[in-house]
Amino acid sequence: MPHPSTGRRARRARRSRVAWIGWLFALPAVVMYATFVLRPLLLTVQYSFYDWNGIGSSTWVGLANYGRLVTDPELFATIGHAFELILFFSLIPVLLGLFVAATIRGIARSRLATVARTVLFLPQVIPLVAAGIMWSWLLSSTGLANELLSAVGLGRLTRAWLGEFGTALPAVGIIGAWVLVGLCTLLLLAGMSKIDPALYEAARLDGAGPVREFASITLPSLRQEIGVCVTVTVIAALASFDIVYIATQGGPGNSTMVPGLEIYYLAFSEREVGMASALAVALVILVLACVIPLQRFARDAR
């Protein structure tokens, strides 16, 4: 007759062996994650305390790089631009996505709905670089956008949209909005299909119109999906790089310079790896500071 405590010990030993075997299965993934995500992340943090050109010897500078981040107006401006992009990357796609998804749901049975879904999602499939090139043609001084304006008698408005200080950042924003509307629409549509149709029926019996239906049933039920949309698009705005790099490279005169691009220029053109790392760390913190409250807000719905 075994002593009860030995039995428990044996069981615990077996269980912990099981736990370690579990880790063994996860090992390949853990190793990859540690090598390609955690290690670079930690190294970036480390580099941010040095003055280093990426090749030669480095000097420890403590928090000096972070100090420059808040005192250099040029670096600080990039963060302002990123927040301006949120307007285009998040607000427009989510609002437009809601509207379009509600419309598509209204015509769900017709073939038009399938076509509309495909067309709207297409930008997600196109590589961002290709999208950037295509849009820089559309928005050039001889591009389609200006030709359309001229055709309807608004020739006075034509301009090189990506080449003027006032319009470059909004123009880049429009490209981002075009890319992200499809994603938001699809996510929201999926969310809508989960809503119990009985709710709508009940509302209609109570005499609610389409607007009231949307505000009282659709919107609250979509809280989580909207949370996901906003989170994904806010990250896309704050960490934007590819669209801006292709369309304007930060120009004209830094008017579209965003943190992602500035990090790249600092590291590879100015060869200030320390400063670039500091800006990268700051960007990570900024993204987390924006996204964590959003996540909490979306989760509160439950």
Partner: protein, 451 residues
């Protein structure tokens, strides 16, 4: 549940400690110290490619066929030499240069601004080869820009790179449009140039088109030409070469920048220059959409083909009548990594490019620019009415006037993308004043040189 977490926590702690240890135990870059800087070039008695099979590793610039044509011809003459060539755009080469020279050292590489590469000891000192091959007997001005002291100052010091040829810049014009506004010969003074521009504007033409979009501020071309029209090109070179105390913020440079602003305000440039890249400028000029562009003779061969007989070239006129001419003129810089496996063979190739008859033919016909080498070396025949002939002739004028300058965009590795370009884009949009422009560029320059 509760008893599993210590294991997990332990594992996480172990992983984190390991990572931290591997990450934080040494300062970045300390392992790749500057031990390999061979400050004194080893004396070279004979550098050849030998007779055994050799594979030269090249890193060239996309879009320019010259190095590829030269390497093909070289293999034809020396069949034991094969090539392993990688190509990238110049911007990519600029960003990759330090890493590639360290991690994946090419035998021969197209180089961006060399100061910082020399400071890090990444380039082979070519003085030994220069002596062995007699490059030191060539006109000194050809190699001057590639001589770099250990502090990064250029102009003298060990030779750290070589040219495949050297370029000449100035103003290209559309002959048909020029006749249309009555310009029968190139303007002789800056004032005459202004008059021609005004005439073109009045005739409803676009007088000048110049790329100035993205990260490539092409207004640097007319600006530097204007700087040399007003001031001394030697002083501009001092600044480009990072001589201590040099400044770009001088009275004559201010006049030049103000002159450029005057042109911009007068509408002498296409209105959308801030959105144009280099390729757009070229296609519009070739399509006859404007009268002038500021560009270099690397396009001569191309323009002679695409606008045969319809394209002319002149050097920027001086502000004074009969004043000396100056132009940006720089070698097409190639270097050898300090860790290159076949350095001797690469140096032999560079010498061959400058001295072999077929190579010099290719340098002119494909590259459009003047080959490197002794002043009295063989020169290929070029048809008289071509723009290639005009640009080659301009080289002689610049030689007499001692007016060769490197590019203000080459002063430091980052001054073009982060200094000149945004400032010139602001000037073009009327958002920056000439005085503040020069001060801002000078500030960027000082912080970059200090690093």
């Amino acid at each position: 549940m509760a008893h599993r977490s210590p294991g997990r926590r332990l594992f996480a702690a172990l992983t984190l400690t390991g990572l931290l240890a591997s990450a934080a135990c040494s300062a970045p870059g300390s392992d790749s110290g500057s031990t390999e800087t061979d400050a004194s070039a080893a004396p070279v008695t004979s550098a050849t490619c030998g007779t055994g099979p050799v594979t030269l590793k090249g890193y060239f610039e996309t879009g320019f066929p010259l190095p590829k044509n030269l390497s093909d011809e070289f293999t034809k003459q020396f069949p034991n030499v094969k090539w392993d060539i990688r190509e990238d755009q110049f911007a990519v080469i600029t960003q990759n240069a330090p890493r590639v020279l360290t991690d994946d050292p090419p035998d021969l590489m197209r180089l961006p601004q060399v100061s910082e590469l020399v400071k890090d000891g990444l380039l082979k000192n070519l003085d030994g080869y220069a002596q062995a091959f007699g490059w030191d007997k060539w006109p000194a001005s050809q190699l001057e820009q590639m001589r770099v002291s250990s502090t990064g100052e250029r102009g003298d010091g060990p030779l750290s790179a070589m040219g495949l040829n050297f370029s000449m810049t100035g103003v290209f014009y559309n002959k048909k449009l020029a006749t249309q506004i009555g310009m029968t010969q190139p303007p002789a003074t800056l004032a005459e140039f202004d008059t021609v521009l005004q005439k073109a504007k009045d005739a409803g033409l676009v007088p000048i088109n110049q790329f100035n979009g993205g990260a490539t501020g092409g207004l640097a071309f007319p600006l530097q030409n204007l700087m040399a029209a007003y001031g001394d090109p030697a002083a501009i070179n001092q600044w480009i070469f990072q001589k201590s105390g040099a400044t770009i913020d001088t009275p004559t440079n201010l006049q030049a920048t103000q002159h450029l602003e005057k042109w911009l305000k007068a509408g002498f440039f296409a209105p959308d220059i801030n959105s144009q890249d280099y390729a757009t400028m070229m296609s519009r000029f070739i399509g006859g959409k404007n009268l002038f562009i500021f560009d270099g003779d690397w396009e001569s061969g191309n323009l002679d083909k695409q606008m045969a007989g319809n394209v002319g070239f002149f050097l920027m006129p001086s502000a004074q009548a009969g004043g000396k001419r100056a132009a940006m003129s720089a070698p097409l810089t190639y270097g050898i990594s300090s860790k290159a496996k076949n350095a001797d063979c690469a140096a032999f190739f560079l010498n061959w490019v400058a001295t072999n008859q077929q190579a010099r033919d290719i340098a002119v016909e494909v590259g459009g620019s003047h080959p490197m080498g002794p002043a009295d070396a063989y020169m290929p025949e070029v048809a008289k009415d071509t723009v290639t002939a005009s640009t080659l002739a301009a080289g002689a004028t610049i030689g007499q006037d001692n007016g060769a300058m490197d590019f203000i965009a080459n002063a430091t590795g980052a001054i073009y993308a982060k200094g000149w370009t945004p400032q010139l884009q602001k000037l073009a949009a009327g958002q920056q004043k000439p005085d503040a422009l020069l001060k801002s560029v000078q500030k960027d320059y000082e912080s970059q040189v200090k690093d």
